[in-house]
Structure formats: structure tokens, C-alpha cells
């Protein structure tokens, strides 16, 4: 890990290898929207090869996943709500809501040149706090209760990530290591909180390692679908608003300017009078705030309670990495990335009704595609090479 310790003098006379943000900028210029599309395409192709090699029809499998995600609703939107398609679509959008926010968390830190791999932990902290505030303050009016719980969850995520930002700014501890450790600490904190004798364990049945339900006053209103069947809640609009806030914050404020400057080149930023340390902490805290918000609205929107056994299953924080990388760490890109993975997440598991591929296989196919996307997105060179050779071929074809 490349954390510069305060004692090592900066190497003079040698150009530093391009930083993460600089390389991303390169890719912005070079690829536009094509590179992410190409990346996703290659990942789906390789996934399809695996599916075919194990004796399933990949085209039919992808069609069933598409339908499982409820995206076939687009072709016949007038079907009644009893049908599977609208229900599946609400579930896909529920996942999308979470992934937008965990994606933004990763993206924001990236724009400051940091890799926040701790979205999962920050998400959990938001989840715990929302459950605590949502249950313990029962009897409040709905609006202040919801606002209070969501704010608390957001702040919780911000503090959790802020620890990593502070450690990086204060002693140069690499944020990847500290956020990984904070992830696992958050996981075990949750195991304690909801577990036997934990602070947030339910009061009704002490034998169950599950939390209390949040009070009705803290639940987010559902605007599409059945409230008792995990309908789509207004957190979806909070996530969309977060996308706008993310864009404004980064592109139209001094804070965003400083954060991006530090991301491009910390030395140049410092030379220009920007406090690098302050921005590292700030960017990390804002990044964590997005993830904490995700946990908060998940808890108040449709989970309502959480158990010890739910903790190791959740991977939305990690999926946020793939979402942000695929979305090139921009607001619009993150929206589409979240939509893709939201659809994959639900369409390959609970939504999938297929005689071609089992949900267990398809669910793991999602992980494979996610891994492949992250792998190829990380290797901008390979995608650029393919893209450039394509252009070269076209030029050659044009001149011939």
C-alpha cells in the first residue's frame, strides 16, 4: 500500500505514476459511454460462455433474468398489479435505490482519489442506527421521526467512514486497509447488537437473534405496490435526489472543486492552497454518509428489522463498487449501473422463474458478472486497446 509516511521525502525528478483520478479522466476522454457498455458486454459474454459450458442456454437464461427483474413490464405496462412483472420491477427498483446510494459512496471517495471499500460497513452502521432510532422513539410524529432516523443513519455512516479518512489524513493509514477492518468491525458489532443479549435484540422473543421492528411512525410511505409485500417506498426519490446532490456537490461547489483537485493531484492541490488532509476526511465522511443513508432508508423503507443471519448475506455495499466503477464515478453512470445490478440482483434470485437456469446458479452468475465487470473496468488499458483497434479497423475499412 502506498501510504507515504511523513518521514520519507518525496521522490524528486521522477514523474509519479498516474493516480487513480487521472487515469479515470483519461478514460472519460477516451471512451465516453462506450467503455462501460463494452465492459458490461464482455462480462455478460463471458458469463454466457460459462452458462453455455455447463449445459444451459445462455440466451434463454438471460431472457429469464430480464423478465425476473421485471423489465418486461416496459413492453406491456398496462398489465394489472397482480402480475409478476410490475411486482418484480418494484423489487428491482428497491435494490436500485440501495445501489444508487452505495454506488455514490464509492464514487465520491474515488473522485478524491480514495477507494472506499467500506461501503458495506457504513451501510450496516446506518442500518443499525435507523433501527435503533426507528424503534426506540416510537410515538413520535411520522415526519420528524423519519427525518430524525434518516439523519442519524446518514451521520452514522459518515462517522464510520470518517474514521478511515481521519486515519489517512492524520497518520497516512491506507484507507483500503482501514475500511476493510471497519467493515468487519461493523459486521461483528451487528452480530453483538442483534444477538443474544445485545442492545438491539427484540424484546418479544429473546431466543431469536433478530432486532425489533421499527415503529410504524418511522416507516417510509410506499407509493407503488403493496405495503405488506415490500412495495416501492419513497426512498427511491431520496436516492434520485442524492444523485442530483452528488452532481451539484462535486461540480458546482467549492467543496467539490477541492475534492476533485485532491483526487487529480494532491501535490498540485496543496500547492494551490487546498488542504489535502481536510479534504480527505471530508470526502470520506460524505462518501460514508451516502452509504449510511442507504442503510437508513433500507431499514425504514422495507426491511423494518434485521437479524444476525441477515448480516453475512448482504453485499449491497460491495456491489456499490461495481456500480460506481461501471458508472465511471459520475451521477448518471451510477444510476444506470445501479439499475443494471439492481435488476441482476433481484432478477437472478427471488424474481427468477426459469426452467433454463436455477436461481442458485443465476445468483452466482451475478457475482461472476460483477467480478468480471470490476476486473475489466479496473484494466482500462485492455478496453482502450479493444476500442482503439476497433476504430483503427473502421478507419482502415473506410480508407480501403
Amino acid at each position: 500500500m502506498s501510504a507515504p509516511s511523513p518521514t520519507t521525502p518525496p521522490v524528486v525528478g521522477k514523474p509519479a505514476p498516474p493516480g487513480l483520478a487521472a487515469r479515470l479522466a483519461l478514460r472519460h476522454r477516451a471512451g465516453g459511454v462506450i467503455v462501460p457498455l463494452l465492459t458490461a458486454l464482455i462480462a455478460f459474454l463471458i458469463g454466457g460462455v460459462v452458462v453455455a459450458a455447463t449445459g444451459h442456454n445462455p440466451l434463454l437464461a438471460y431472457r429469464d433474468i430480464f423478465n425476473g427483474a421485471g423489465l418486461n413490464w416496459i413492453f406491456h405496462p398496462t398489465t394489472s398489479t397482480v402480475d409478476a412483472a410490475p411486482y418484480n420491477l418494484t423489487q428491482t427498483l428497491l435494490q436500485t435505490t440501495t445501489l444508487i446510494l452505495t454506488g455514490l459512496a464509492v464514487a465520491f471517495a474515488f473522485r478524491c482519489g480514495m477507494f472506499n471499500i467500506g461501503g458495506q460497513g457504513q451501510y450496516f452502521v446506518g442500518l443499525y442506527i435507523a433501527n435503533w432510532v426507528g424503534h426506540d422513539l416510537a410515538g413520535m410524529e411520522t415526519f420528524p421521526h423519519v427525518v430524525l432516523a434518516i439523519t442519524a443513519a446518514t451521520l452514522g455512516g459518515a462517522v464510520w467512514a470518517g474514521i478511515a479518512g481521519f486515519l489517512k489524513a492524520a497518520v497516512g493509514a491506507h484507507e483500503v486497509i482501514s475500511t476493510i477492518m471497519l467493515n468487519w468491525i461493523a459486521i461483528w458489532v451487528g452480530t453483538y447488537l442483534f444477538g443474544d443479549g445485545g442492545l438491539l435484540q427484540n424484546t418479544a422473543n429473546p431466543a431469536l437473534p433478530i432486532s425489533n421492528n421499527v415503529a410504524d411512525s418511522a416507516k417510509l410511505p410506499v407509493f407503488w405496490g403493496d405495503k405488506d409485500l415490500q412495495g416501492l417506498h419513497i426512498g427511491f426519490f431520496i436516492a434520485l435526489a442524492a444523485l442530483v446532490i452528488f452532481w451539484i456537490l462535486l461540480n458546482r461547489t467549492t467543496l467539490g472543486y477541492e475534492v476533485r483537485a485532491v483526487g487529480f493531484n494532491p501535490d498540485a492541490a496543496a500547492y494551490g492552497g487546498i488542504s489535502v488532509k481536510k479534504n480527505l476526511v471530508r470526502a470520506m465522511a460524505i462518501s460514508g454518509a451516502f452509504a449510511g443513508l442507504a442503510g437508513g432508508i433500507d431499514m425504514l423503507g422495507y426491511l423494518y428489522r434485521y437479524g444476525v443471519s441477515d448480516i453475512p448475506v448482504s453485499s449491497v455495499g460491495f456491489l456499490g463498487i461495481a456500480v460506481a466503477l461501471l458508472g465511471r464515478n459520475t451521477a448518471v453512470g451510477t444510476l444506470f449501473g445501479a439499475l443494471l445490478f439492481g435488476g441482476l440482483l433481484f432478477g437472478t434470485t427471488h424474481g427468477l422463474q426459469s426452467n433454463v437456469i436455477d436461481p442458485q446458479l443465476a445468483g452466482n452468475l451475478t457475482y461472476m458478472i460483477q467480478g468480471l465487470i470490476v476486473l475489466f473496468v479496473g484494466a482500462d488499458v485492455i478496453i482502450l486497446t479493444i476500442w482503439n483497434s476497433r476504430r483503427k479497423l473502421r478507419r482502415r475499412a473506410g480508407s480501403a
Binding site: M1, S2, A3, S5, T8, K14, P17, L20, R23, V50, T54, F115, I117, L167, A170, V171, A173, H174, V176, I177, S178, I180, M181, L182, W184, I185, I187, W188, V189, T191, Y192, G195, D196, G197, P312, F318, I321, A322, L325, D358, Q360, L361, G363, N364, L365, T366, Y367, M368, I369, Q370, G371, L372, I373, V374, L375, G378, A379, D380, V381, I382
Partner: protein
């Protein structure tokens, strides 16, 4: 105190060694109250703890702040745990602190040692490997498949290493040749491994139908020793892989610090340009180190499934052990022996976590989280700062 009498006068008054002795005494303060010594009076633990803290204060006043504060913390924690132990029932103590706790510690530390040492090779050569978890998981699954299909645990281990090595090779290609961001690449490896193992586990075994009684890595029963009172249960029946992990640590120490190969690996991790200048093929050394880390991580995974797991695989069965291994490597300051001690400490922590529910689930959880908290403290530089290789994580471009 008698073990200090034989030391020379300079050594005796060196604040650093005094501080280190203080840390050990803090551990002793706690150790006195548990079986086999099991002093039931708090006098002994408090006395030893005070001495430990005093050593710490002395070291701090002589400028050795980190070691000194460490000794003070060790003394206080030792006394705290010691008092807790004297308060709890003798039978409970005997349940937790049987001699086989030592064996249990080795069981939990072995996968950490394999993956941690593997990670050390990779990072010493300048390639960050947070994909250890994934390579371990691949090893765990393909070991089961291999042992099932070839009918022998040796085949299982071989196929596990093949899978881990192959994934490491792919990762190395992306990290070294394509100069992909290594954290992103490692994350991808972890995702891929979850997907691949989960997919093929269902495809090949329908998620649970691993035939029972597949060949597993044998235990080593040491004649005579296995019947001894303390050492018998502690080291008499350890798995072959546990002994191999000890050997691996010793060999790695020699390789890294005493051989030209180790010097080359370290050179590539500290200053690849200089290494290149003197004719070392940086790419080749890095490829070798990363693939080696994949092989070793897969061995750790194979131990989980066909060693101590008895031939069973479950989805995502590594459950973060790769990350604890990474933590052990960092806590051990990117050194073989340091990694070994850290892995033992973390293994003991996990072993205790599995036994402490006789007292309370909370205490057990506390010991589960201990490795991560300790590593966080270590990277924060509160007690003894960890220093990674200078070029760790930086892609190298040949000129």
C-alpha cells in the same frame, strides 16, 4: 523474574527490551489465573500486572513510548482479564482452557498463516493482493472437487493449488501487464471467486450433495508425545497442514531474508527501477510472487475444506479469513515471523471466541472482532507503526 537474571547489564537496562518484557509480563498476569496454573487469588495477577505497568512507565520515561505504552496497556488488560478469570467458576475455566486450546489455536491460525505468508510474498514484490480471500475460497472448493474426483487428498490439494494459481495468474496479468488498479483487481478476484465457487458448487453438487467420506488431509499422530498429559492434546494429533505451515514460515523467513531470490523480491517491492537497472526482471519476479501467493492462499483454503473441515464445502466458507490473513500480514509488518505470530494471536482469538459462549455471547463476539481492531490500531500507528514496502501497489512501467 529469573529469566532476566542471565541477561547482560546493557540488555537489562535497555528501555526497549524492558518495555517488551513488560508486555510479556502483562500476558503472564493473565496467564497465571487460567489453567494449568490457575491461581485463584487476585494478588498474583495484580502484582505481576503492576510490575508490567511499572516497566512500561520506566520505558516511556526513557523515550521508548510505543513499547512502554504497550507494556502499560498489556499490564492493565492482563490484570483486568486475570481478575475476571479469578471471579469465574473453576469448571468454566477448565472448559475453555483445556490443553487442546493450543491445538485449536493452530487449527484456526493455519489458514491465516498460508494466506498471510502468500500475501507477504506478493506485497513484498510490490503487488497488493486483497484477492487472498477469493483465492482461498477457490482453493477450498476445488480441493473438495479434486479430492472427490481423484479419490485422494493429494489430488484435491493439487487441483486447489491449480485453481488458486490460475486465478492469481489472471490477477497478475491485470495488475502487472495491464497496470490495472490493484485494489480494484483484487476486489474483482473476490467477487469472481464467490461467483465461480457458488456456481460450480450448485452445478456439480446441487449445493449440498458432496459425497461424504471423501479423502481428507491426514492428521499426524506423534508417537509417545500423543499420550503425554499436556503436549498430547496440544500437539499430538495436529493436521499435516499445520506442521507444513510451520515449515512454510521457517522456509519463507530464510527465502525472504537470506537468499538472493528474497533480495530480488524485496528489491522489486521497494524500488523496482533500481532492481530493473541491475538486471532483475521485475515483471517475472512479480508474476512469480503473485502466483505463489495464490498457490499458498489456495492451500489455506484446501485446509479449511478437506483438512479441518472434514471434506465439506459451504457457500462462501472462508467467511473473511482471507481478510484476517491480510490483517495478520499487516499486523506482522510484512515479515514471515511477524505474520506467523499475528496469525497465532488471531487464531487464538478465534479459538477463544468459539469457546467463550459458556460465559457470554458478547465476550465471544469481542474476540471475533479483536483481529480487526488490533490491525486498525496497528495501521493507525498507535503501538508500533507498520511500514509497507515502498513500491507496494504501484504498477511498474519498464523504460
Amino acid at each position: 523474574m529469573s529469566r532476566r537474571a542471565g541477561l547482560s547489564r546493557e540488555r537489562l537496562l535497555d528501555p526497549r527490551s524492558v518495555g517488551k518484557t513488560g508486555i510479556l509480563l502483562g500476558g503472564l498476569a493473565c496467564f497465571l489465573t487460567i489453567p494449568p496454573i490457575q491461581a485463584r487469588s487476585i494478588v498474583w495477577t495484580v502484582l505481576v500486572g503492576i510490575v508490567a505497568a511499572a516497566f512500561g512507565i520506566w520505558a516511556v520515561t526513557r523515550g521508548q513510548k510505543r513499547v512502554g505504552f504497550g507494556a502499560m496497556a498489556s499490564g492493565i488488560i492482563g490484570v483486568g482479564l486475570g481478575i475476571l478469570a479469578t471471579r469465574s467458576g473453576t469448571s468454566n475455566l477448565n472448559t475453555v482452557f483445556r490443553p487442546d486450546l493450543v491445538a485449536s489455536m493452530f487449527v484456526f491460525s493455519t489458514p491465516l498463516i498460508f494466506a498471510g505468508i502468500g500475501g507477504m510474498y506478493s506485497e513484498r514484490s510490490g503487488v497488493v493482493n486483497i484477492g487472498l480471500e477469493g483465492m482461498m475460497l477457490l482453493g477450498a472448493f476445488w480441493a473438495v472437487y479434486g479430492a472427490d474426483k481423484t479419490g485422494s487428498w493429494i489430488g484435491g490439494v493439487a487441483i486447489a493449488m491449480l485453481a488458486g494459481g490460475l486465478m492469481a495468474l489472471i490477477y497478475a496479468f491485470f495488475a502487472i501487464h495491464l497496470r490495472a488498479d490493484q485494489i480494484v483487481g483484487g476486489t474483482a478476484v473476490n467477487f469472481l471467486a464467490v461467483g465461480i465457487t457458488g456456481y460450480f458448487f450448485f452445478q456439480l453438487y446441487h449445493g449440498d450433495n458432496v459425497p461424504s467420506g471423501i479423502s481428507t488431509i491426514p492428521k499426524v499422530n506423534i508417537p509417545y508425545v500423543e499420550n503425554w498429559r499436556f503436549l498430547g492434546p496440544a500437539i499430538g494429533h495436529l493436521n499435516l497442514m499445520i506442521w507444513l505451515s510451520f515449515a512454510l514460515v521457517a522456509v519463507s523467513y530464510v527465502v525472504i531474508f537470506k537468499t538472493p531470490i528474497g533480495l530480488r523480491i524485496r528489491a522489486c517491492g521497494e524500488h523496482p527501477r533500481a532492481a530493473d537497472t541491475v538486471g532483475i526482471n521485475v515483471y517475472r519476479v512479480r508474476y512469480g510472487s503473485v502466483v505463489l501467493s495464490g498457490l499458498l492462499a489456495a492451500l489455506g483454503g484446501a485446509y479449511l475444506s478437506i483438512g479441518f473441515g472434514g471434506g465439506a464445502f459451504t457457500d462462501n466458507m472462508t467467511a473473511g479469513r482471507g481478510f484476517i490473513a491480510l490483517a495478520a500480514m499487516i499486523f506482522g509488518n510484512w515479515r514471515p515471523l511477524g505474520t506467523f505470530y499475528a496469525a497465532l494471536l488471531f487464531g487464538l482469538s478465534t479459538a477463544l471466541a468459539y469457546r467463550l459462549p459458556v460465559y457470554s455471547g458478547t465476550a465471544a463476539t469481542l474476540f471475533q472482532v479483536l483481529p480487526y481492531v488490533l490491525t486498525l490500531i496497528a495501521v493507525a500507528g498507535v503501538i508500533g507503526r507498520t511500514v509497507p514496502p515502498a513500491a507496494d501497489g504501484k504498477p511498474y512501467v519498464r523504460q
